[in-house]
């Protein structure tokens, strides 16, 4: 899909020309120490740890969640039994949008693309029998990230786990939602404030928690190139850092807990080079631009997802092969955590068996192939080093362009980023249409049969009724006045510019619902209307 040929010339997916041969002359301008270095040493081109996966495998973290908290709790236990090493929670759209299941907009969506979480009761059930000091959990949650983190911390407290021992990640990256994923609630200013609140709170009280996972994945899956994915993400990171610094927090107090998240797609060497180049750009940016002194602040730690929009419904089994190559590129790129999509995901969330097969991709890679035995095995390759340098230059140029336009927030409000992405998505589609880009099973090597009938995950429509009933029950049994007072307390704290995290924790402990909390902020700060760009 992403291998391009034009008039005898060849290009990577980002449009970098690939020469017929790479040799020493292509890397002769690179300084082995300044540009490449050793694994675990600045500028970390070769990886953030000295021995990388030889001593520390990436975390195998399959994005998963559906139906009621009980359904998902069972799936998590199953995946852990099967050898998964961390949890990654998929939440349904009402939870992502801060709506209770009885809201009219929630119709048809409760527990569909993820698990439904409305009150602390649900979060308690979700982690029943899963001790939070023993497992790290990643939440793909953005507009309501502060709220979900608060509920997670309430669960930790109930389990008797001190906050210092709680590890995990919230995505908490609203800027890309405005552009590429669409799960926003509030205008950028209030959204940014919630994010800074979580970063500040975690830096002080939950030091093992990654308070943000700045995500390029959704730009990429919306159709942009890897150069754009890297540049937009790093430009977002710069915006977040500025906002936190403005609050008077020192760079080294929070930078070690910034993390990243990307899609690895098909263009193999460019994807490897992307991660190598980003590590280098980030280390330099943190040390030189932001004057971070703690080497941990320089480390570019990232997770990936493999699959996404590269998964095709036609001859769907091919998807397992695509994802395997993408997983290999991620490992060679020095990944810290990985989610490999199942082959049935062009149709729906995966069945249990297909989710297991997807996990096995990572296990085969980790335990059978030997690719983990030495760090950055592609380091020193004429092609990969040259491509890494080219990616680095192009990504930095694009970051520079965004900065000179006034940064990401401004570029998003003006629709610039949206336009760049849709332009690229449309070009890609045209290349597939013309046959210039090959997609196996779609525009070449097709078979004479329609999309095959697979046994798919079935959505259980009862889930909505169950969740509404449970919510009503919670509303009936909680101390109603107390819960209402907590909502008022939140409003006051918001007006007084206090950090909202402790107040969110209070509200959820008294069983305020997610919808009630989010509604209170909507009344104060309004919602956001997107600039429509096509």
């Amino acid at each position: 899909m992403e291998r391009r040929k034009e008039g005898g010339k060849r290009f990577t997916e980002s449009g970098i020309e690939v020469k017929p041969l790479y040799a020493h002359k292509d890397i002769k301008d690179l300084d082995p120490v300044r540009d490449i270095g050793e694994p675990g040493e600045y500028p970390y081109t070769r990886g953030i740890h000295k021995t990388m996966h030889r001593d520390r495998l990436w975390t195998m973290r399959q994005y998963s969640g559906f139906g009621t908290p009980k359904d998902s709790n069972q799936r998590y236990k199953y995946l852990l039994e099967q050898g998964q090493t961390g949890l990654s929670v998929a939440l349904d759209l009402p939870t992502q949008m801060g709506l209770d299941p009885d809201d009219p907009m929630s119709l048809g969506e409760v527990g569909r693309v993820g698990v439904s979480i409305n009150t602390l009761k649900d979060m308690e059930t979700l982690f029943d029998g899963l001790p939070l000091d023993n497992i790290t959990t990643s939440f793909t949650i953005n507009a309501t990230a502060a709220m979900l983190l608060a509920m997670y911390l309430c669960v930790a407290e109930k389990q008797g786990v001190p906050f210092e021992k709680v590890g995990g990640t919230i995505q908490n990256d609203i800027l890309k939602e405005y552009v590429a994923r669409g799960a926003w609630i509030y205008p950028p200013e209030f959204s940014m404030r919630l994010i800074v609140d979580t970063i500040e709170y975690c830096a002080k009280y939950v030091p093992r928690f990654n308070s943000i996972s700045i995500a390029g994945a959704h730009f990429k899956d919306a159709g942009c190139t890897s150069v754009q994915e890297a540049a937009f993400t790093l430009a977002d990171a710069i915006e977040y850092i500025r906002a936190v610094l403005e609050r008077g927090i020192g760079i080294d107090d929070f930078a070690p807990r910034l993390s990243f998240f990307f899609y690895t797609h098909n263009n193999f060497f460019e994807e490897v080079a992307k991660y190598r180049a980003m590590r280098k750009i980030w280390a330099r940016c943190m040390r030189e631009k932001f004057n971070a002194k703690n080497p941990r602040s320089w480390l570019f730690r990232f997770g990936v997802v493999c699959g996404g929009s590269t998964l095709m419904p036609q001859q769907a089994e091919i998807n397992t092969i695509r994802v395997s190559y993408q997983a290999l590129a991620s490992v060679l790129g020095g990944v810290q955590s990985m989610f490999t999509c199942a082959f049935d995901e062009p149709f729906s969330i995966p069945t249990e068996e297909n989710a297991r097969l997807a996990l096995r991709i990572q296990q085969a890679l980790a335990f059978e192939t030997g690719v983990v035995d030495t760090p950055d095995p592609l380091g020193g390759s004429y092609y990969v080093e040259s491509l890494t340098k080219e990616m680095e230059d192009r990504v930095e140029d694009l970051i520079e362009r965004i900065e000179s336009r006034g940064g990401m927030v401004k570029s998003i409000k003006e629709g610039f980023i949206q336009r760049e992405i849709v332009e690229e998505a449309y070009k890609k589609e045209k290349r597939i249409r013309s046959g210039e880009s090959v997609v196996v099973g779609v525009n070449r090597f097709t078979i004479d049969q329609e999309v095959e009938e697979l046994r798919l995950h079935e959505y259980n429509p009862q889930v909505a009724m169950e969740q509404i009933e449970l919510l009503n029950q919670t509303r009936r049994t909680r101390d109603k006045e107390r819960a209402e007072r907590r909502i008022d307390q939140l409003r006051t704290a918001a007006e007084n510019n206090e950090n909202l995290m402790p107040h969110l924790i209070d509200a959820f402990k008294d069983y305020a619902s997610l919808g009630e909390v989010c509604q209170a902020f909507k009344e104060e700060y309004g919602t956001f209307e997107q600039p429509t760009v096509i």
Binding site: L93, M105, G182, D221, P346, Y426, E450
Partner: protein, 141 residues
């Protein structure tokens, strides 16, 4: 289709899902094929979609849905269309539509269905053919 009036297509994503790559790419392709696009974007209610369709006097309403909630969301839009008496405007549905739901959508009254990976040329041709066959039927009466 009479005279120089371009085919007007409204494209919207109803419900809570925010993935709009498909909607935008199809919108661009239809535009390049000479149609006029009214792009409403994501998070739209049935009421908003139907209101815009009436105001803009469109020939087609296209819904893009990827979350799996397409049966319920389509039903809402069809109900609203009937209520506002524009159920003669053909409804198109695109996105993550499993094979088992295609017939259900057709029975509900959806005229054209474009599951993910439908080639753009197929979608464009289907819209043009639908209009010309309907024009033939009308003149034949």
């Amino acid at each position: 289709m009479n005279g120089a009036r371009k085919i007007r297509v409204l494209i919207a994503s109803p419900g809570l899902d925010g993935h709009d790559r498909g909607a935008k790419v199809v919108a661009r392709a239809l535009k390049d094929a000479g149609m006029e696009i009214v792009y409403l974007g994501i998070h739209r209610t049935a009421e908003e979609i139907v209101k815009a369709a009436i105001q803009e006097d469109v020939d087609f309403i296209g819904l893009s849905m990827l979350s799996g909630a397409h049966l319920i969301l389509t039903e809402q839009v069809l109900k609203e269309m009937a209520m506002q008496k524009i159920d003669d405007v053909p409804l198109i549905v695109g996105g993550t539509i499993p094979k088992r739901d295609i017939q259900k959508l057709e029975e509900m009254g959806v005229r054209l269905i474009f599951p993910t990976q439908t080639p753009l040329d197929t979608s464009i041709a289907a819209i043009q053919e639908y209009l010309s066959s309907r024009a033939t039927q009308t003149t034949g009466k």
